[in-house]
C-alpha cells in the first residue's frame, strides 16, 4: 500500500467534514466549530493532494501559488472592515469561479493533447469553464458596485435583452461546435481558439448579467454567484473525475440555491424578478411619483439636544439600525446610548430588517461586534406590532427598509417589499447624513411625515452628541 492509495480516503474524510461544517454553520452554538471542522478537512485534502501522481512535477508552481494566494487571502480577510464584508465575500467567490474556469481550460488542453477528448468530459469542462467565468466577472462587478467603483444603480440600455441573449446564444453555439469536435475526434477550427472565445463570451455574459441589477439586490446576486461557483467546481470534479470536488461543489451549489431563495423571500421578490426585472424598469415611474410627493411638504430638522430630550422622556425606544450606522462605525456609540437610556429605566430594543446592512444577518454581526446583547435584537415579524406602542423610533442610517411607500404606493419600485413599520411609532428620529436617497435610489416618504424629526449628520458624530446631551441631564 502506497501513500497514493490513501488519497481517496483523505478525500472521503474531507467530504464528511464539509457536510458537518455546513451543518454546524446552520446553528448559532455550533457555527464556529463547524467552520473550523470544514477548514481542517480542507487542509487534509490539500496535503493529501501533494502526494498525487499528477502533482509531482508541479510542486514548485503550486507552492508559489499557495504562498501568493494564501498571503493575499489572509491579508484581505484580516484587514477588511466588517462593513465591507459582503464585497470581500464577492471577491473570494470570484476567485473560486476564476480558478474553476482555469482548471477547465487546462484540463481541456491536457485531454486534447492526450487525444482522449470525449463528449461527457468535454460537456462538464465547458460547463465548468462557462459557469466559472460568469461567476468570476459577475462577482467582480458585484464587488465594484458595493465598493462604489461602479455605479450601484441599475445599468440599462435599449435592446439590452438582445445583447445579453446574443452573448448567451453565441456561447452556446460555440460550445456545440466544441462538443461536435470532441465526438468526431477532429476539429475544423483550432479548439483552443474556440475555448478562448467562449471564455471571453462567458466573462462578458457575467458582466451583462450583473450590471442591470441595482446595488440593493447585490446580496442576492452574490449568494447566487456563490451557488454558481459551487456548480462550476462540481463540473470541474466531473472533468477530473474527482469525487471530492463533485461533493463539495454540489453541496455549495445546493445550499447556495436555498440561501438565495431565502434571501429573495426576505425581500418579497422572486429570484427571476431580482435578475431580470423590477428596480430598473420601475424606477422612472417611482421617481416621478416620489418627486411629485416631495413638493409642498417640508421636513423637520432637530438638533442633538432636542433628540436627547425626546429620548429621555420616552418609555419604549426602538433603534432601527441600517447601513449608514455600519459605514460610520457607530455601533459602539449606539450601544452606549442604549445603556444610558436603560439606566434611566427606558426600554430599548433593536429592530433588525432581514436585509438591513448589505446582507441578511450583516447587521447582527455588526451589533454583536459592539457587544449588543443578543436578546435585544428583534426581527421584523416580532417587532412590527410593537411600533404602535413605541414612543420614539430611532432610525440610524436605515432608509429603504423603513419606506412606507413599500406598503402604500404601487408605483414605487420597492412596492411589496416587507418593511419595518417605523411610521407607526409616536415619534420618529432619523439620523442621516443628507436627504440623499438610499441604495434603491428612491425618496423616502417617512422623512416627510409630521411625526418625523431629522437629525442630520454622520451617524457616529450624531449619536455621540446625543449621548453627551443625555449625560448632561442625567
Amino acid at each position: 500500500m502506497t501513500v497514493e492509495t490513501l488519497i481517496p480516503v483523505a478525500y472521503l474524510i474531507a467530504a464528511v467534514t464539509f457536510i458537518l461544517g455546513l451543518k454546524g454553520l446552520s446553528s448559532p452554538t455550533t457555527a464556529v466549530q463547524g467552520n473550523r471542522i470544514a477548514a481542517t478537512g480542507m487542509l487534509i485534502a490539500v496535503i493529501a493532494t501533494f502526494f498525487a501522481a499528477d502533482v509531482k512535477g508541479g510542486v514548485p508552481i503550486i507552492l508559489a501559488g499557495v504562498a501568493v494566494g494564501g498571503v493575499a487571502g489572509f491579508a484581505g480577510a484580516r484587514t477588511v472592515k466588517m462593513t465591507a464584508m459582503p464585497q470581500m465575500v464577492a471577491l473570494f467567490n470570484g476567485a473560486g469561479g476564476g480558478a474553476a474556469a482555469l482548471v477547465a481550460i487546462l484540463e481541456f488542453a491536457r485531454q486534447r493533447d492526450a487525444g482522449v477528448l470525449e463528449f461527457g468530459a468535454s460537456l462538464a469542462t465547458l460547463l465548468a469553464l462557462i459557469i466559472g467565468a460568469v461567476s468570476f466577472s459577475g462577482s467582480a462587478i458585484a464587488f465594484g458596485k458595493l465598493q462604489g467603483l461602479i455605479t450601484p444603480k441599475a445599468f440599462r440600455y435599449a435592446g439590452q435583452q438582445f445583447v445579453t441573449g446574443g452573448i448567451a446564444a453565441a456561447t452556446a453555439l460555440l460550445s456545440l461546435v466544441v462538443l461536435g469536435g470532441a465526438i468526431a475526434g477532429s476539429f475544423a477550427i483550432e479548439p483552443m481558439l474556440l475555448i478562448a472565445v467562449i471564455t471571453l463570451l462567458a466573462l462578458a455574459f457575467g458582466v451583462a448579467l450583473v450590471m442591470p441589477i441595482g446595488g440593493a439586490d447585490m446580496p442576492v446576486v452574490i449568494s447566487l454567484l456563490n451557488a454558481y461557483t459551487g456548480l462550476a467546481v462540481a463540473m470541474a470534479g466531473f472533468t477530473l473525475n474527482n469525487q471530492l470536488l463533485i461533493v463539495a461543489g454540489t453541496l455549495v451549489g445546493a445550499s447556495g440555491t436555498i440561501l438565495t431563495r431565502l434571501m429573495s423571500k426576505a425581500m418579497n421578490r422572486s429570484l427571476g424578478n431580482v435578475l431580470f426585472g423590477a428596480f430598473g424598469a420601475a424606477t422612472t415611474a417611482g421617481a416621478a411619483a416620489a418627486s411629485a410627493g416631495l413638493e409642498g411638504r417640508s421636513i423637520r430638522s432637530i438638533g442633538a439636544e432636542d433628540a436627547a430630550i425626546l429620548l429621555s422622556y420616552a418609555q419604549n425606544v426602538i433603534v432601527v439600525p441600517g447601513y449608514g450606522l455600519a459605514v460610520a462605525q457607530a455601533q459602539h456609540g449606539v450601544r452606549e446610548l442604549a445603556d444610558l437610556l436603560e439606566s434611566k429605566g427606558i426600554n430599548v430594543k433593536y429592530a433588525i430588517h432581514p436585509v438591513a446592512g448589505r446582507m441578511p444577518g450583516h447587521m447582527n454581526v455588526l451589533l454583536a461586534e459592539a457587544n449588543v446583547p443578543y436578546d435585544k435584537l428583534f426581527d421584523m415579524e416580532q417587532i412590527n406590532p410593537e411600533f404602535q406602542r413605541t414612543d420614539v423610533a430611532l432610525v440610524i442610517g436605515a432608509n429603504d427598509v423603513t419606506n412606507p411607500a413599500a406598503r402604500s404606493n404601487p408605483g414605487s419600485p420597492i412596492y411589496g417589499m416587507p418593511i419595518l413599520d417605523v411610521d407607526k411609532a409616536q415619534n420618529i428620529i432619523v439620523i442621516k447624513r443628507s436627504m440623499k436617497p438610499g441604495f434603491a435610489g428612491i425618496d423616502n416618504d417617512l422623512y416627510l411625515d409630521p411625526k418625523t424629526a431629522m437629525l442630520f449628520g454622520d451617524a457616529k458624530d450624531a449619536v455621540s452628541k446625543v449621548v453627551q446631551e443625555l449625560k448632561k441631564t442625567a
Partner: protein
C-alpha cells in the same frame, strides 16, 4: 455510460439532497456567515488546480496553472478566515454579559 460516470452522477445527485437538507433551517442571523462558509468550501477547487497545475508544459500552461492555484488558495484561506472573524463576534457576547 461508463461506470465511473455513473458513480460520479450518483455522488452528484446525493450531494444535491444533502446540500438542500443541511441548510433548510437556518436563522437569518447566520445567513451571512453561512454564505461565507459555503464560499470557503467551494475553495476545494484548489485541489483541482493542484492536479492540473503542471498538466500543460510551456510558459502559458505554467502561468495559467499558477494563477489557478493562486485564485483557489485565496478563495480557501480568505473564505475561512473571514467566516471565522464573523463568527468570533457572536462568540464574545456571553462573556460580556457576565461582566
Amino acid at each position: 455510460m461508463t461506470t465511473e460516470a455513473i458513480v460520479a452522477a450518483y455522488v452528484f445527485i446525493l450531494a444535491i439532497f444533502v446540500g438542500f437538507e443541511v441548510v433548510s433551517k437556518v436563522p437569518s442571523t447566520l445567513h451571512t456567515p453561512l454564505m461565507s462558509g459555503a464560499n470557503a468550501i467551494h475553495g476545494i477547487v484548489i485541489v483541482g488546480a493542484m492536479l492540473v497545475a503542471s498538466a500543460i508544459p510551456g510558459p502559458i500552461g505554467t502561468v495559467l496553472g499558477f494563477l489557478a492555484v493562486v485564485l483557489g488558495t485565496a478563495n480557501v484561506v480568505g473564505g475561512f478566515v473571514v467566516t471565522d472573524r464573523m463568527l468570533a463576534m457572536f462568540k464574545q457576547r456571553p462573556v460580556r454579559k457576565r461582566e
